[in-house]
């Protein structure tokens, strides 16, 4: 009988995160009318929601006020906030309900990150060149 040897290199992604946990990234645009404190409170609301549901914050990055490329809900600027997190796969549904209910939010997007994306984000945070600088127009 031939013995099937399953190469470990193919299965490493299974051990990387806990069962059912995935890497995600959330980007939210809040209305520019929020004050500094309101903006922070809104961020905290979602990070605490994440922690309640067994998630973990990897990195938070409030970009702050930026002009939008086109108006959304008659606003030309928005407060951007980027959150990287690990969460169980059912968390995003719960988060979606909260985000849609929130009137301070113009728009949001949540993306699942693959291993290359996680690596890229880590590099970008620590200031290591990510390789995109070399690409000329």
């Amino acid at each position: 009988m031939p013995v099937l040897v399953f190469p470990l290199t193919f299965a490493t992604h299974l051990f990387k995160t806990k069962q059912g946990m995935n890497n995600y990234e959330l980007m939210v645009i809040f209305t520019p009318v929020l004050s500094e404190d309101d903006f922070k409170a809104a961020q905290k609301k979602y990070t605490s929601l994440l922690k309640e549901n067994g998630g973990k914050v990897v990195h938070e990055n409030p970009w702050g006020l930026r002009s939008l490329a086109y108006p959304i809900k008659k606003k030309t600027t928005g407060l951007y906030w980027v959150l990287e997190y690990d969460a169980p796969s059912d968390f995003n549904e719960k988060l979606k309900i909260q985000l849609l209910r929130d009137e301070n939010i113009l728009r949001y997007i949540s993306t699942r990150l693959d291993k290359y994306a996680v690596e890229y984000n880590q590099k970008k945070r620590s200031g290591v060149p990510t390789g995109t600088e070399k690409v000329e127009a």
Partner: protein, 88 residues
């Protein structure tokens, strides 16, 4: 009958060879295309903010798809304009 070395052309034939296009992502080993990096994505757009075809950028199909996804996400989050005159 004219011999091969006697043939003369009215217009000079092109001798310089055009450099072959390559996929930047394969060459520089870029595995992930970030939708948050709008400046980077602008390299793959024309002046109206529309996506350039593969025959011009030289991207491989795999990465052209990823660029397209990233551009669409960036547009959704108002990092890139949907359509505009003179983006650059």
């Amino acid at each position: 009958m004219a011999k091969v070395n006697e043939i003369k052309y009215l217009t000079a034939i092109k001798t310089e060879k055009r450099q072959k296009k390559y996929c930047r992502f394969k060459k520089f080993r870029i595995r992930y295309i970030d939708y948050k990096d709008a400046e980077f994505l602008k390299k793959f757009l024309n002046e109206q903010g529309r996506l350039l075809p593969r025959r011009i950028t030289g991207n491989s199909l795999k990465y052209q798809r990823k660029v397209a996804q990233a551009v669409k996400k960036a547009r959704q989050m108002a990092l890139l304009p949907t359509i505009i005159d003179l983006l650059k």
